[in-house]
Structure formats: structure tokens, C-alpha cells
């Protein structure tokens, strides 16, 4: 028998969908800022994938900047970044407060055994294993990924603050390894969001329409156990 099941509270759906364009704008404007010192000779060659003298990939090749039209827009990038940072931060803080006070955090925060569970999920999703661990609302891999991305959001705010006012927040900047390291950390957190985004989209596509719809409407149709009184004859 089918039943309508409440999946996501209204507040969490709003936080999620508001965050999506805000984070996109933060990344977009952040790229405009990073462009201004992305030259390897200037950035000290740390914005890359490689080791020693070997560089597999430098962030970013010239065609990337050209095609996306991100060159020569430092002033605009900074203005957008320092405008939308407030909305991004406020939305994120309200989300965390909501999950704390509503008790929703119980579904999200990973518990003991979730690392093993997450591994099972990954093996299952890669069709390397048949077993999928039992879970409520979010599977162990989701719990770890979603909690991690929230922590990353906090880390982005902190590293951002350390870059924004490295003298006034000198102790924070120092703690993060100094101004240039804080920039590097801020950059890699962003790359983390981009990786998260692609995996997230892939998993949402795999999970199907009902799952996506539940993030908009809050509800999904699930099979529920029939009550004995209405059992089929």
C-alpha cells in the first residue's frame, strides 16, 4: 500500500534552494578574484595538482577563463563577493540553528559505524556490492557528505574572514598558516563544493524523480505496511 511520507521540512527546503544560487554566485565572483593572481609565477605555483616540478593541472588554463568571461573583473568580483557573503553566511547560520533546535541534526550527524556504512554505500552505488545498509532518511554516505559540506561552509567563512581582514583578524590568519595559506585553503574548499555539486547531481539523478520532488514538495510516496484490518483477501 502506498503512503505519503514527509521527507524534508519547509525550512530546510528553503535553506537548501536559497543556498544554491548564493553559493554559485560566491564561486563565480570568487573566480573573478582568484583570476587576478592566478598566474603561476605570481601565486607561487601552489594552485595546481602536482608535486615538485611536475604539474598535472594548473588552476586554470587560459581557455577556461576566456570561455567563462572571468578575466579582468577583479573589482566586480570583490563587490559581488563582499555583497553576497552576508546572505550566504546568514542563510548558513540560520540553517545550522534550525537543524539544531528542530532536532533535524539527528538525521544528519554521522554516528558510530557510519564510515563503514558509507563505504558500503559507495561500493553498492558502484555496483561492486549488493548490500545497502539500512538507514533512516539519509544513508551513511549522505550523512557524512552533508555534514562535511556544512563544516566546509563554516571553514569557508573562517578562511574568508582571514583573507578579508588579515591584519585585524591576525590571530585567525596566523592560525590558518598565514595570509597566502588561508587563500589556498579558501580556494580548495571551493573546489570541494564543485566536487560535491557534481556527485550530488549524479546521485540525485540516480535516485529518481520522487526523491527530487521531495526536496521541492517535502513529500514522497513510499510503500507502507498495510494494517491487518485492511489486509487483502
Amino acid at each position: 500500500m502506498k503512503g505519503l511520507v514527509k521527507k524534508h521540512p519547509l525550512a530546510i527546503r528553503w535553506f537548501h534552494w536559497i543556498n544554491f544560487p548564493l553559493l554559485a554566485l560566491m564561486i563565480w565572483s570568487g573566480l573573478m578574484i582568484y583570476w587576478a593572481s592566478s598566474d603561476e609565477r605570481v601565486s607561487g605555483g601552489v594552485y595546481r595538482i602536482g608535486w615538485g616540478a611536475t604539474t598535472l593541472f594548473h588552476f586554470f588554463p587560459k581557455p577556461f577563463w576566456q570561455r567563462l568571461g572571468l578575466e579582468h573583473q577583479l573589482a566586480k568580483g570583490m563587490a559581488w563577493h563582499f555583497f553576497f557573503m552576508w546572505f550566504f553566511a546568514i542563510n548558513g547560520v540560520l540553517y545550522v540553528l534550525y537543524t539544531l533546535f528542530s532536532g533535524e541534526w539527528r538525521f544528519l550527524v554521522p554516528g558510530r559505524g557510519d564510515l563503514r556504512g558509507a563505504l558500503q554505500v559507495v561500493l553498492h552505488d558502484l555496483h561492486l556490492s549488493e548490500t545497502m545498509p539500512a538507514f533512516v532518511r539519509y544513508n551513511p554516505a549522505q550523512r557524512i557528505a552533508y555534514s562535511l559540506v556544512i563544516l566546509m561552509g563554516g571553514a569557508s567563512l573562517l578562511t574568508g574572514l582571514a583573507i578579508y581582514r588579515p591584519v585585524q583578524f591576525g590571530s585567525l590568519t596566523h592560525l590558518l598558516g598565514g595570509y597566502q595559506w588561508a587563500r589556498w585553503e579558501h580556494f580548495w574548499l571551493t573546489m570541494g563544493y564543485v566536487a560535491f555539486f557534481f556527485i550530488h547531481i549524479l546521485q540525485v539523478a540516480r535516485a529518481g524523480w520522487g526523491n527530487f520532488r521531495s526536496m521541492v514538495t517535502g513529500y514522497d510516496i513510499d510503500q507502507v505496511k498495510e494494517e491487518p484490518a485492511h489486509a487483502k483477501t
Partner: protein, 266 residues
């Protein structure tokens, strides 16, 4: 803490009538369709609103190169940064090995296009008859500091900078300048100019600098005298100082007129 909705329980708002499970299924699907229509309609309106808001935002009249809401938010950030600014917080000096031996990186030559006229150069304070030479500045206590210079583009360079504290300079030559809320500086030809808030101008590490790594300034570094404000981005560290003005209102600033933040503090 309240318990969140349980996953396993079906929604209690649905009527639990004793029909067949097929009719129950179709009721559930009808209810889901209703909720979907409502949900996606709200989503569509929200997306449309966000898009409209964005179009409105970027089409606002520009103030100094930025749509006014962005300029306004930079001003709010600036007010907050001004409050946050602690005049006793010093920029950490760098280790000797962090100082490029060939000198700090050169970037920007606005106002330096012509070679400096070192014999006729005078430092002028706007509104006075003062015409100062480098020797006048040498009568003041000399300070050296190994501070980083952060470019607004994102990179950092460093040097051992020598000169006189801007605050000492003002105390000696124009004491009434200490009460001005703003300071403006410009190159002799007036083509590059910066504005500073008093707190940053009179910070103990703000120098009128005449030597880098114990050598007199080269023309590219602003010979004979440059401003060094390590609490600000490089764009505020004006080279070849020609004029100093003490102002009641925010002095014009070359890069702030071109879309950048007027405060540009660190």
C-alpha cells in the same frame, strides 16, 4: 528537543478509510499531485523572483563603477571595518628569507610615467606654503620595518622599508592635521591619488618611505618618497608623493572611482 517527523509513519493528515489498498493508492497519488503542483508553482515563482531580483540588481545606476547596491554594501562593510580597526594591532614583520633580494615586486606606474625630477621635487601640504625636501624628513626619527605588502590582486611581496612615521611627520610639520578625519595623497602630476581614514594614516607602521632594503627608492618604487601603509592593500601605497591634504570629507581615490572598495583595508 521536539522529535522530528518520523520517516516510517505515513502522513496522518490522509484519511485512513477502510477501502481497498488500490483506492488508497490512488488517493495518495492524487494528494501527491496536489502537493507537487503547489510546490513546483512556489518554486517557479521563487526562481522567477530571484531572476528578476538579479536583473534589477545589476541594472541599477552605477556609482563609481558599481551598481549602487554593491557600492552601498561596500560602504557598510567599510563602516564595520572602520569600527573593527584596532590602531594598536601591528602588521607582523616577515622573516629575512621572505624578503625578495631583488626588491619587492613592481606593479603599477600611474603618475610615474615621466622620470622623477629629484632636484626640484618638493613635498607640499595642500593649503599651506610648506615645501619640504627629503633632508627635512631626515631630521625626524627614522624607522625601518620588514612588513609585507599585499596587492589587491592577491599576491604578497615584502621588503625592509625605511622612512619616517607619517604621524611623526604630521606632528612636526602640520600638527593641526592630526585632527582631520581623512588624509589624501597625490603624485606631483595629480594623476594618481589615494584617500585614507585618519586611523590608518596615523597607524604606527604607516611611513613616508625613502629607502627599500637600505637603498634609496628607485624611480619604479616611487623615488624620492612613497607612502607605505601595510594595513592597506598596495593600491593605497602611493608612490612619488607630491601632495598631502588633510580633509574633512573622504578624499577622491583613484581605484575607488574604478569599482574598488574605498577603504581597501587589511
Amino acid at each position: 528537543m521536539p522529535r522530528p517527523d518520523s520517516e516510517s509513519a505515513p502522513d496522518r493528515t490522509l484519511p485512513q478509510s477502510p477501502g481497498s489498498s488500490d483506492s488508497q493508492d490512488s488517493r495518495v497519488e492524487a494528494e501527491m499531485r496536489k502537493r507537487s503542483r503547489r510546490g513546483f508553482l512556489v518554486a517557479l515563482l521563487a526562481a522567477g523572483g530571484a531572476y528578476g531580483g538579479w536583473r534589477w540588481l545589476i541594472a541599477r545606476p552605477r556609482v563609481d563603477g558599481l551598481a549602487w547596491p554593491f557600492r552601498r554594501s561596500l560602504s557598510l562593510n567599510e563602516a564595520l571595518s572602520g569600527k573593527l580597526f584596532d590602531p594598536n594591532r601591528r602588521v607582523a614583520e616577515v622573516r629575512r628569507d621572505a624578503i625578495p633580494p631583488a626588491g619587492p615586486r613592481v606593479n603599477g606606474d600611474i603618475g610615474l610615467e615621466d622620470p622623477p625630477n629629484l632636484t626640484d621635487w618638493r613635498l607640499r601640504i595642500v593649503g599651506t606654503e610648506l615645501r619640504l625636501q627629503l633632508d627635512d624628513l631626515r631630521t625626524l626619527p627614522q624607522t625601518s620595518q620588514a612588513t609585507p605588502l599585499n596587492c589587491i590582486e592577491g599576491w604578497t611581496t615584502a621588503a625592509r622599508w625605511t622612512g619616517v612615521r607619517f604621524a611623526d611627520f604630521v606632528d612636526r610639520f602640520y600638527p593641526s592635521g592630526r585632527s582631520a578625519p581623512y588624509v589624501g595623497l597625490a603624485t606631483p602630476d595629480g594623476s594618481y591619488y589615494v584617500g585614507l581614514d585618519a586611523a590608518s594614516a596615523f597607524h604606527s607602521q604607516t611611513l613616508l618611505c625613502h629607502a627599500i632594503n637600505d637603498e634609496p627608492l628607485s624611480p619604479a618604487h616611487g623615488a624620492p618618497l612613497r607612502l607605505l601603509v601595510p594595513t592597506k592593500y598596495g593600491i593605497k601605497n602611493l608612490k612619488r608623493v607630491g601632495f598631502i591634504e588633510f580633509a574633512q570629507n573622504r578624499p577622491p581615490d583613484y581605484w575607488a572611482e574604478r569599482g574598488y572598495d574605498w577603504f581597501a583595508g587589511l
